[in-house]
């Protein structure tokens, strides 16, 4: 059977934090979100990106590897659970080991907390709360074959951090290699006709980030 997992496509993220609001609804960590949405750089763009546990598969999840008390358990399906409360000693090793910066230390509870792929829901065939709520399908739940037949973009699950390489259960979605629409040609053609000033725009500029309007205060 195909493995269902999460696909994260930051290009579709609108920063609404519906995923955070939804994650907080879980009865096991009510009022606290295990998924984070951040502006990448608000001083240049409105682009945002969700961060959630990538559920590393190969090698064994770094957080679990470094846990001195083996509190972080991995289910047979490959879902990395949050720390087992009876074992966790709040040493923070997992917080430092995670290459994605996911585990959070709850100092009051002396317990590491992180996403467990809504194990209560997904084990019953439901979607995790965050993908269910996401209004743009920037985080999307399904299997690889479904994804590639329904959606554009290039899902990857290998991430390299210097010498460290991990294969994760959760996919990141990269843009298509070739843009479908040759906007440059369209703009060049238009420019030749209207004879505007200045150099032709780059495709980036077509969404307005490179050239500003002449402006008088």
């Amino acid at each position: 059977m195909a493995i269902k997992t999460i696909f994260v496509d930051p290009s579709r993220c609108i920063g609404c934090r519906a995923c955070e609001a939804a994650c907080r609804e879980c009865d096991s960590h009510k009022g606290e979100s295990m998924i984070m949405v951040d502006f990448i750089d608000r001083s240049s763009s409105v682009a945002t990106q969700p961060t959630l546990c990538m559920h590393c598969e190969d090698p064994v999840a770094p957080c679990a590897q470094v846990c001195p008390v083996m509190a972080i358990l991995i289910t047979p399906e490959g879902v990395v659970q949050q720390a087992e409360p009876s074992r966790c000693i709040a040493c923070r090793n997992c917080v430092y080991a995670c290459p994605f910066g996911v585990p959070k230390m709850d100092t009051a509870a002396r317990l590491m907390k992180k996403c467990n792929l809504c194990y209560d829901r997904t084990s019953q065939g439901l979607q995790p709360w965050c993908t269910q709520a996401c209004p743009t399908q920037a985080i999307w739940y399904g299997d690889y074959e479904e994804f590639v037949t329904q959606r554009r973009g290039h899902p990857v699950r290998h991430t390299v951090f210097g010498a460290q390489e991990v294969r994760t259960r959760v996919y990141h979605v990269l843009p298509e290699d070739e843009p479908r629409l040759d906007l440059m040609a369209l703009l060049h053609e238009a420019q030749a006709e209207v004879g505007t000033r200045g150099a032709p725009e780059s495709p980036m500029a077509a969404t307005g980030s490179a050239r500003e309007e002449p402006w008088v205060l």
């Binding site: 955070e20 609804e25 502006f39 763009s45 682009a47 945002t48 709520a133 077509a206």
Partner: protein
């Protein structure tokens, strides 16, 4: 776009503000109890996403996803936490009355004292000053049943002509444009048709933040290869992913839209057969757009000419194209013309009436579509009937059981009512589901008007900025404490179900209204024991009207996942797609309307060099009276800010996160600057969801569209300065009208003759 963690540094974004110092909400204990799931829809915007409320022991304790056809289980953050309103500690749980005149304080009272006082005052006022001295200002973030009841209460219970609703501030220009062009006012296609299009042109709508759940349909269209063009002064989350962004100067959209049409004509992309067979008036439009060359549009609107040409080809060459538009063009002194310019484009391309093609207005309020159809609008009766047409008056009078002569004539629009209050013609007003002190432009004037009312009566479930000024505050119900129907932005009628009882002494809104009617001695016209009886009467009242609900039953809504009006008989399945074969005019043809660019009422000058525009953030809904109280939402955007381009900011010595002052001819406010390149350098943006000193409507221009009286929220002349900076030059903004010709808000004196264009617009709006 909203703020981030760097901007409000002191906020802990993962901390539940709602629970600070307050008793814990019911979920802790309730999670141990068996639960039931109540199917219903969200309390907020016009999408009306389906959701389940988790109910245990009579308490709403949470939310679960519901796979409904148009949201497919998705929710935005507002929808996820909407249920937290039900047991919220800020709920009003007993009636309040202001004792000792306007200087007194609101004190707890009993229902009998509050209602008897109101009725006694109303009787005295109406005896002395006439029936029209008492007005009803309603809203449309509530069920069709309540909206219908408000219109009937005003006209039958009070006998006043002055009843209008806050949709006047929201959609009235688009409604008038669709009625003028197609003969019927509704988005012509369901959301689920959006993926069928091959080019999306989004005009003046930040879909991502205002209607997040619609984005999944946009992305499905994109996945199937559709291109996306966005016309907006800001590079919003919607514009960021567009193929082409047209950064338009606020208030100049017509120049670009007409230039697009001109280019389409010159490229030979007009669907001549469609224009010939299905429309009237093309030649006049062809001539009207000819002066709008791309260069001319660039001069007026600041959009590079080559982008306009490229956009015209992307749009014009697409076999199926859809224009979506919303408040960005509708909040304007020429809002009707803006929408007509969009319609002209779609008609010229022969798209209206085809699956996935045409134009689609995105109605904002929860029941913005239904609210304007069921008879609480100044000029309308239930079923989109017109109050000045004798046969339609006669039908409704007969349904209501009153003589036709007792049915009052058309009254003042919502924006005009405030003027009548300030002039003393309206002595008392009942406000339901509206927060005038945040939502109307030029709040200082609004406050003066409201303070003249004696009594101002407000029904609300939280203490809104308007309720704070009231003489009598009656605690009402939130959406899931009553049942009924709403009509979402597609024209789909959906069912809201009851999940809880109102807390404390609070009562259901319909019970309050019926009780008032009884005390006024008109109880025989309001004999409802259940909300369903109101619905059954509404069905009959709308029968044969433009918006025909007669064939819609609550059972059919449940069985079909919503029913689209018109639905004239019980065996009729409803009408998701309109205009497939004919338009709603008797001859079946759509009308072109030539539109020309007119400047906004106020333009920049030396003293006020910027264009100020206002808009939404994803975390708040309308006046924020609900969402500002929900911990998660409020912690994301607790106060407004002003967006300014780095080039403008550098010249004025303004740095990110610094407090600045923004001034217009109406007033000034102090707020934080967000210096970002995602806005035009000549434009400022401030979100409008906040009250008191944080309300941007202290600054906005009260000029209105002359026909439908929608205010021009989206552009006025403004200055911005550092708090410690040198004084700015004195002066006035560039007014584009003389005092005589200015489309002022509140220009209407009851009984005044109107210009021909206004008469025409009133007929169709």
């Amino acid at each position: 776009m909203s703020v981030n963690k760097d901007f409000f540094q002191t906020r802990d974004f993962n901390y539940d503000f709602q629970s600070v110092g307050r008793p814990p909400t019911a979920w802790r204990e309730a999670s141990q109890l068996p639960e039931t799931l109540v199917p219903t829809h969200c309390a907020f915007c016009g999408v009306q996403c389906g959701m389940y409320l988790r109910v245990a022991d009579g308490q709403v304790v949470g939310v679960e996803p519901r796979d409904f056809p148009h949201n497919r289980g998705s929710l935005c953050p507002k929808g996820v936490v909407a249920y937290q309103q039900v047991n919220h500690p800020d709920r009003l749980t007993y009636p309040l009355i202001r004792r000792g005149g306007k200087q007194g304080r609101l004190e707890r009272t009993t229902w009998d004292e509050a209602l008897d006082y109101v009725v006694e005052r109303w009787k005295a006022i109406q005896a002395q000053f006439g029936k029209d001295a008492v007005a009803v200002y309603s809203g449309s973030s509530m069920t069709n049943e309540k909206c219908y009841l408000m219109g009937k209460f005003a006209r039958v219970g009070l006998g006043t002509r002055h009843v209008d609703y806050n949709g006047r501030l929201c959609m009235s220009s688009a409604a008038a444009a669709y009625a003028k062009a197609f003969g019927l006012d509704r988005a012509p296609l369901p959301m689920t048709d959006i993926p069928l299009t091959s080019c999306l042109l989004i005009v003046g709508s930040n879909v991502a933040e205002c209607f997040p759940v619609v984005m999944q349909w946009l992305w499905q269209a994109r996945d199937r290869g559709a291109s996306l063009i966005v016309l907006d002064p800001r590079e919003t989350a919607t514009a960021r992913t567009a193929d082409l962004w047209l950064p338009v100067r606020p208030g100049t959209d017509i120049a670009v839209l007409n230039a697009l049409l001109r280019q389409i004509i010159h490229d030979g992309l007009v669907d001549e057969a469609y224009v010939r067979e299905r429309t009237i008036g093309w030649e006049a439009v062809r001539e009207a757009v000819e002066p709008y060359t791309p260069q001319e549009a660039e001069r007026i609107a600041g959009v590079p000419a080559e982008r306009i040409v490229a956009a015209a080809r992307l749009y014009g060459r697409a076999p199926r194209s859809l224009i979506m538009h919303a408040r960005g063009i509708e909040h304007s002194t020429h809002g009707v013309d803006n929408c007509l310019a969009c319609i002209n484009l779609a008609l010229a391309r022969g798209q209206v009436g085809k699956p996935g093609g045409g134009t689609m207005m995105i109605t904002g309020q929860g029941n913005g579509q239904g609210g304007r159809e069921v008879g609480q609008k100044a000029n309308q009766l239930p079923g989109y009937r017109h109050i000045d047409v004798p046969e339609e008056r006669q039908y409704i009078a007969q349904v209501w059981g009153i003589p036709e002569s007792e049915l009052p004539p058309e009254g003042a629009a919502a924006t005009e009512m405030v003027g009548l209050m300030a002039m003393g013609e309206i002595k008392s007003c009942l406000v339901v589901c509206s927060n005038l002190m945040v939502s109307l432009p030029d709040i200082a004037t609004v406050q003066r008007a409201l303070e003249r009312l004696d009594p101002l009566v407000v029904i609300d479930f939280f203490m809104s900025e308007t309720a704070e000024l009231a003489d009598v505050v009656l605690p009402g119900s939130v959406w899931c404490e009553d049942e009924g129907t709403t009509t979402n932005l597609e024209g789909r009628v959906v069912k809201i179900n009851r999940a809880a009882e109102p807390p404390g002494e609070a009562r259901r809104d319909v019970d309050i209204i019926c009780d008032l009617a009884r005390r006024l001695g008109r109880g025989q016209f309001f004999p409802y024991r259940t909300t369903r009886e109101i619905w059954e009467e509404l069905r009959v009242a709308s029968k044969g009207g433009t918006a025909d609900y007669f064939g819609i039953t609550w059972e059919k809504i449940d069985a079909q996942g919503g029913v689209f009006w018109p639905c004239p008989s019980e065996d009729h399945p409803g009408t998701p797609r309109l205009f497939a074969e004919r338009f709603a005019y008797p001859d079946g043809k759509a009308r072109f309307h030539p539109v020309v660019y007119t400047p906004p009422a106020e333009e920049p000058s030396e003293a006020y060099p910027f264009r100020l525009t206002t808009g939404r953030v994803v975390y708040h809904y309308l006046s924020g009276n609900q969402t500002r109280r929900l911990g998660f939402l409020n912690s994301q955007a607790p106060e407004p800010w002003v967006e300014i381009h780095p080039r403008a900011a550098a010249r004025l010595g303004i740095v990110n996160d610094a407090l600045v002052r923004v001034r217009t001819a109406r007033g000034s406010m102090t707020l934080k600057a967000l210096v970002v390149p995602t806005i035009r350098p000549d434009t400022l943006f401030i979100p409008f969801h906040y009250g008191h000193e944080h309300a941007v409507n202290q600054l906005t221009n009260p000029a209105v569209d002359p026909s439908v009286k929608i205010p021009e929220y989206k552009v006025c002349a403004a200055a911005i300065e550092r708090l410690d900076g040198p004084p700015s030059p004195a002066g006035a903004p560039t007014a584009r009208f003389t005092p005589e010709t200015a489309p002022q808000m509140f220009p209407y004196v009851a009984g005044e003759r109107r210009s021909p264009s206004e008469v025409e617009a009133k007929q169709f709006s």
